[in-house]
């Protein structure tokens, strides 16, 4: 067990998917402790611990809970386990290796907001994790841990958009997965129009740890504005990619070099995407940025889903932007205009730049399309589609310009991204794939 691990503690030595093993390391004691407290006190503990959402937005979980109308007899807890952000694989590991921790967190959250129903919406592709989690739910139910609460594990059907909370709720209701206009927000009008506490897997899985350690001890971990730990999914050009649970505020450099072993062959870093493919890229001069919500935001990016992607100096940024743009075109739900039409246009423009057939004005047009999409979509995913493109363009303008000036890609097939297959390339039979030319 690595020191300081909370969520992934003991997963190396024990098979925590088994209820007895999980109990042997103290599992479900936090639940018992919570049930001895009053519901508002549990909410207060979560609030005092400043537990911020680990799914992307970093919204404090306790504040969400406080928005829920306690008098409404119908309330829901929904766990967003539709982890789909390119680069993110932390929830997968948590559910696959420590499912009872998530279940315990669910039961505690349900107790805190006095809900009787918990829905875990798990990404459809996570079949193994679904099976592990479903079995754990059955074991916990059989062990009588649920009380008057029921937990349902629901599999998604392969849409990135369903990781957006309101689209997730639509999908859970059996409708087409598309975001809802907000306000009202889920704590007011959520699943089946009832107040709903919806949080990411890791957020919910952290809840038992708050009571286990006590609020005071818990807040000593990490930084004051973002206490606790996060499981960072480290990927890209690093020696040891993987999930690493570290205290929030750990410097980016430390994650990449001390934990991840640095870049293979000692190559230079060109950029770091700190929160999954949808966030603006950071540059090597920002390697000392502490990995917490506020610090990363101050550096011009987002904490996102704590998926840190390292890009080395062999990668063509136009190719990388195109890869991201294709993903977001593929996953745009089609509900609102800027995202639906803009993502396709971005792909067309980037394809032309990469081909070397772009003209001078295309870079300005690319910039303009990005800025016209930004902030104008129904949900945040419209912005997610823009950030990679606009930030690569801003920070690596020269490289884009080189494509235009030379009439070809300076990296060609030597780019380090070549050969790494993107989902959109793997799913060519899919009807939504129409590579515009």
């Amino acid at each position: 067990m690595a020191a300081g691990e909370l969520i992934l503690a003991h997963v190396e030595e024990r098979d925590l998917t088994r209820l007895d093993e999980y109990r042997a390391v103290g599992g479900y004691r936090s639940l018992a402790r919570a049930r001895e407290m009053s519901a508002p006190d549990v909410v207060k503990a979560i609030t005092d611990a400043t537990l911020r959402g680990r799914g992307g937005a970093g919204f404090p979980m306790g504040r969400k809970a406080s928005l829920i109308d306690q008098k409404n007899p119908r309330k829901y807890v929904v766990v967003n386990a539709d982890e789909s952000e390119p680069g993110a694989f932390k929830d997968r590991e948590i559910m696959g290796r420590n499912p009872h921790l998530l279940i315990e967190g669910c039961l505690m959250t349900a107790y805190a907001i006095e809900a009787q129903s918990v829905f875990i919406y798990i990404r459809g592709e996570y079949l193994t994790e679904y099976e592990v989690l479903a079995r754990a739910v059955e074991d916990a139910r059989a062990a009588g841990l649920f009380g008057d609460v029921d937990v349902v594990v629901h599999r998604g059907a392969g849409a990135y958009i369903c990781g957006e909370e309101s689209a997730l709720l639509e999908s859970l209701e059996g409708k087409r997965g598309q975001p809802r206009p907000r306000p009202p927000f889920p704590p007011v009008t959520g699943l089946y129009a009832a107040p709903t506490q919806i949080n990411n897997v890791q957020t919910i899985a952290t809840v038992p740890k708050i009571l286990e350690l006590g609020v005071e001890e818990f807040t000593k971990i990490g930084v004051p504005s973002s206490p606790g730990t996060a499981v960072f999914s480290l990927s890209g050009n690093v020696v040891r990619p993987g999930n690493y649970e570290l205290p929030l505020g750990t410097p980016l450099r430390s994650l990449i070099y001390d934990v991840g072993g640095g870049v293979p062959e000692g190559r230079a870093i060109k950029g770091i995407i700190p929160g999954g493919s949808s966030v603006p890229i950071l540059t090597p001069d920002q390697l000392d940025t502490p990995l917490d919500y506020d610090s990363i935001q101050a550096a011009g990016s987002f904490f996102g889903s704590a998926a840190v992607i390292v890009v080395d100096d062999r990668c063509c940024m136009v190719q990388l932007a195109l890869r991201a743009a294709k993903f977001y075109m593929h996953e745009s739900c089609g509900k609102c205009t800027p995202c639906r039409e803009g993502t396709r246009w971005l792909v067309q423009l980037l394809t032309r730049i990469e081909d070397g057939s772009a003209v001078e004005s295309d870079l300005a047009l690319l910039e303009s399309v990005c800025s016209r999409m930004l902030g104008r979509s129904l949900c945040a995913l419209g912005d997610f589609a823009v950030y990679p493109v606009s930030s690569y363009l801003r920070k690596f303008r020269g490289e884009f310009q080189q494509h235009v000036d030379e009439g070809r890609c300076p990296y060609g097939d030597q780019s380090s991204i070549v050969g790494i297959e993107a989902p959109i390339d793997a799913h060519t039979h899919h009807p939504t794939v129409e590579i515009p030319g």
Partner: protein, 709 residues
């Protein structure tokens, strides 16, 4: 009642005060400012904020532009539209640019061109040129999603109005969005034809030329048409319509929103059946039986002479069969001619009407506010008065309980209960009125079978007070219109009558059994008034000239022969009947959006019979109904044939369960040695003990049937 709460906000620097809960788009309109929209349509339920055309700067609020359509006006709000905000202006430009990125811009060959919101808003707000120089997204087109509607997916801007209509208004759930992102497309579920009573509304809802009418495709351009405001004459709802005409022909029917009657929705019969006016077998000249078998076309002078002769030779032994589709004026003129001129007072009236409902008179829109709606009478509402079904659905979405079996306690306990009688045995509304009175229901409606049955009955009564006597044998049967001509009871009378004069629009109906056939006209060819099922007097306007003189013209001529003063002009005839029947309202005051008269004083409650009980043995009571998509007009519209009722029997969940019948099962119904096999449609919109079948599929079944798998 206290004054409604209001809020005051600022829009583009203008202060405006609106009722609390008003949407920002409407609040801006109140301030004289347009916030352009595509997806926003309040009749389709909560706003979805999809098209992003309405982005504005709103304070207080997040710094990024907000979709005005999803916000309601709040006190002290400061809204800046594209008129005064650079950010909003940029948003609007951006949205229009994005919408047009993949739109084919084929306006010159698009039916919507000239009356297209996308075209209009692009001209008003959009850029003059495009920065998009890539190949646009293409699809196969046009796709006939039904024989009535063609879909052009390239023009579609994915505002989801059509799918929202299908899902949340008509609740047929047949239109869906398929795929994701830029490849999203509108489709029907499983690519089945869009077969539903209200499908045509999606054509009007579409803000671009993506959904077009197959009947109207390439038929006219907006600058060469005229829209005549009139009223549909195909069912007792009397939806307000625009008849679009070009060069003297009706080309399409559009809704003309009357918020109390139809909310701007039309059924597919009202929208698409108009082309029967130009049916191949339309009668344009009078037909006279000259030999034992055979008719010849005769001049109108000859026809009027013959009619006079036939009327005289009957010596007052005349029975008049009315259709219920005559205008008030037409029915009154006919009644005056026959009752005053020929002392013939016996009539087969199209519907039964009781004035017991008048004290409960309410607009149809009041159904939407109900907390309990009881639908009695066992005939499907949607087949009789389609729009009423949409009002019931709206009530249900608003939380109302809809009962298909009378639950007296539920009605008594309701704040706002509405009773609706759909089916036979309603005694002209007397029965439902008595029930409503006894149970304290707020409103009650009776759904007659004919469009203007009520106006026709009133007009007939207004012409004379004389009680009808016995007519035996019948010297002359005067059949007024196609509904009467198609009525089996009238056909039976014709067998007994010595002579028959029939008025009919079509060759097929009256020729063969009448001695003289006079060409009839359609509701689209008449001026006059109709009275709908609410008791609302509405104005018909002539959209096109009929191919033959209209009824008033030759009735007036016949009037001269019998010394009955009759004008050929509807306005004059109306002014004569109005003081007797409509409180003297002048013809010109009926208006384009007719008002409902105030509820009448309560008359003495009539005696009514108890509700019919379903059969109590193993058998079920069979209700045969006349489907909406049937009758002389529908039969003459090829595009509507796919809408004719399926060979199925509707059975309640309880009865189906008791017999092990599941939805879609083939089941057999038996009575008195005859049997019919039909597919079961299990419904919770029918009470136990009753099954119902469209007339054309019920065969010879008797009123009590055995049902088994």
């Amino acid at each position: 009642m206290s004054a409604p709460e209001t809020v005051t906000l600022t829009i583009d620097g203008r202060k405006v005060t609106v009722p609390k809960g008003t949407g920002l788009v409407e609040a801006a309109l109140a301030a004289g400012i347009e916030i352009p929209v595509f997806c926003y349509e309040p009749r389709l339920g909560p706003p979805i904020g999809a098209c992003r055309m309405c982005l504005c700067e709103v304070a207080p609020g997040p710094p990024k532009p907000q979709a005005a359509c999803t916000l309601t006006a709040q006190d002290g709000m400061d809204v800046k539209t594209a008129l005064t905000s650079d950010s909003a202006r940029e948003s609007q430009d951006a949205t229009l640019e994005f919408i047009l990125v993949n739109h084919p811009l084929d306006c010159p060959v698009c039916d919507k061109g000239g009356e297209c919101p996308l075209q209009d808003l692009t001209f008003r707000y959009g850029p003059g040129s495009s920065r998009m120089d890539f190949p646009k997204r293409t699809f196969d087109k046009p796709i006939p999603i039904s024989p009535l509607i063609a879909l052009d997916r390239e023009r579609c801007i994915l505002c989801y109005r059509c799918t929202r209509f299908s899902e949340t208004v008509a609740e047929d759930g047949q239109l869906i969005a398929r795929n994701r992102g830029a490849q999203s497309m509108i489709a029907t579920f499983e690519d089945e034809p869009y077969r539903a009573h209200f499908s045509g509304n999606v054509i009007e809802l579409c803000p671009v030329g993506a959904l077009t009418s197959t009947q109207y495709r390439f038929q006219a351009r907006p600058w060469e048409i005229q829209n005549v405001p009139t009223v549909c004459g195909l069912c007792p709802v009397g939806c307000n319509i625009h008849a679009t005409t070009r060069e003297g022909k009706v080309k399409r029917i559009l809704s003309r929103n009357h918020p109390e009657v139809d909310q701007g929705w039309l059924c597919d019969k009202g929208r698409f059946a108009f082309s029967h006016v130009r049916a191949e077998d339309r009668l344009t000249d009078p037909l006279l039986r000259v030999r034992r078998r055979g008719f010849e076309e005769v001049s109108w002078d000859r026809a009027v002479d013959e009619a006079e002769r036939l009327l005289r030779e009957a010596h007052g032994r005349i029975v008049t069969a009315l259709s219920g589709s005559e205008t008030v004026e037409h029915a009154y003129a006919l009644a005056k001619l026959l009752r005053r001129g020929l002392d013939s007072h016996v009539a087969v009236l199209p519907d039964e009407f009781s004035d017991a409902l008048d004290p409960l008179r309410m607009p149809l829109s009041s159904i939407a506010d109900a907390d309990v709606v009881a639908v009695l009478g066992d005939a499907p509402v949607v087949e009789r008065a389609p729009i009423v079904e949409l009002w019931i659905k709206q009530a249900k979405r608003g939380g109302a309980r809809v009962l298909y079996e009378l639950d007296e306690d539920a009605v008594r306990g309701a704040e706002h209960a509405v009773l609706i009688w759909s089916g036979p045995g309603g005694q002209g509304g007397a029965r439902v009125a008595a029930l409503a009175k006894r149970l304290g229901a707020r409103g009650a409606f009776w759904l007659p079978e004919t469009a203007n049955g009520r106006g026709v009955c009133d007009a007939w009564a207004a012409a004379a007070d004389t009680e009808p006597g016995e007519v035996e044998p019948i010297g002359l049967l005067f059949v007024s219109g196609d509904e009467a001509a198609a009525n089996p009871d009238v056909r039976a009378l014709a067998e007994k009558a010595e002579r028959v004069i029939a008025v009919s629009m079509f060759h097929g109906l009256a020729a063969g059994w009448a001695d003289l056939v006079l060409p009839g006209t359609s509701y689209l060819e008449r001026d006059g008034t109709y009275v709908n099922l609410e008791g609302r007097l509405q104005r018909l306007r002539r959209a096109v000239i009929p191919p033959a003189p209209d009824e008033l013209a030759w009735i007036a001529k016949l009037g001269e022969r019998f010394d009955v003063a009759l004008s050929p002009y509807p306005s004059v005839v109306f002014d004569e009947v109005s003081p007797i029947t409509f409180g003297g309202v002048p013809f010109g005051a009926v208006g384009e959006h007719a008002r409902l008269p105030a509820p009448a004083e309560a008359p003495a409650a009539p005696e009514t019979e108890p509700l019919p009980e379903p059969a109590d043995d193993d058998g079920l009571r069979l209700v045969r109904y006349r489907p909406l998509f049937s009758g002389a007009a529908v039969e003459r519209v090829p595009e509507l044939q796919f809408q004719r009722p399926l060979a199925e029997v509707q059975i309640s969940e309880t009865d189906a369960h008791a017999r092990g019948i599941r939805n879609g099962d083939e089941i057999t119904l038996r009575s008195n040695g005859t049997s019919v096999s039909l597919r079961a449609r299990v419904t919770n919109e029918l009470r136990g003990g009753v099954v119902r079948i469209a007339d054309e599929h019920a065969g010879e079944l008797q009123p009590s049937v055995e049902v088994a798998r």
